[in-house]
Point group: C2
Chain length 122, copies 2
DNA sequence: CTAATTGTTATACCAATAATATAACAATTA
DNA sequence: TAATTGTTATATTATTGGTATAACAATTAG
């Protein structure tokens, strides 16, 4: 796992970490059933406190991306519920699209961005 | 302007306010060149402190959605720079799309969401 | 001209969050 | 048996979010 954290970012470290784990799963760098590094190992690796990594793992577990097994640690296990996922994604996207409309972005430009990011993540 | 704030949300009030102003501009409830309520009036209206509204206005100004005129207050004036807007939107969307891919959302489902939200905002 | 309202700035305070630092526990593993 | 695991607890520091007053210069309304 190649995690790179920007310590000067205004984005919280545990959020950056969570987003990079999203990307690692989306790009199949980590696959379903595989284990993430232990909280201590990853914290040591990227140079942050154990609890910061633990917070990222905890939110990922609560949002249904990981399951924690005593024996195997944090294992990628994605709970899939299309309806719920679509509803949440709609709420995430709404203010972003409103912002884009203000700036004159068309729906075609948004769809092109979708395609580009999809291609980038595969 | 119909602003409704959820005081139990974990989303900051000034962020909720900013998002609703995005939506008001996107849906043409407020139009280019029109003024927003004064910080004091809007704060009084929604029952928050003046500085909370001021913070929302300040970020909107810094991001090129408002200009402040001594005479006319906070006026909707969107700075349009397609290249910059697209680049920023790409960065906003990337972690969201990664999240969606983890949950099994296809690019077609994303594009459908784009269309639905666009329709909703018009 | 006067009084009120505007955006803006400054200061102070409180609560919540982010991040760190130790430390300990039970369960598992080598 | 010793080391490592996730987890929990406590404490501390810095930052952020929100509130509360207050004041200033510029503008506007009466």
């Amino acid at each position: 796992m190649y995690i790179d954290i920007d310590f000067n970012s205004d984005e919280a470290i545990y959020i950056q970490l969570r987003n990079q784990i999203f990307m690692a799963i989306a790009t199949s760098q980590i696959r379903e059933g595989e284990s993430l590094p232990s909280v201590r190992a990853l914290a040591d690796d990227i140079g942050v406190n154990m609890h910061t990594v633990n917070k990222a793992y905890t939110t990922l577990r609560q949002d249904g991306f990981l399951k924690v097994d005593r024996r195997r640690g944090a294992v990628v296990a994605v709970d899939v519920n299309k309806a719920v996922s679509l509803a949440k994604m709609r709420d995430y996207l709404r203010p972003l699209i409103a912002r884009g409309i203000c700036k004159g972005l068309s729906r075609e430009e948004f769809k092109k961005l979708i395609d580009e990011i999809y291609d980038e993540l595969q």
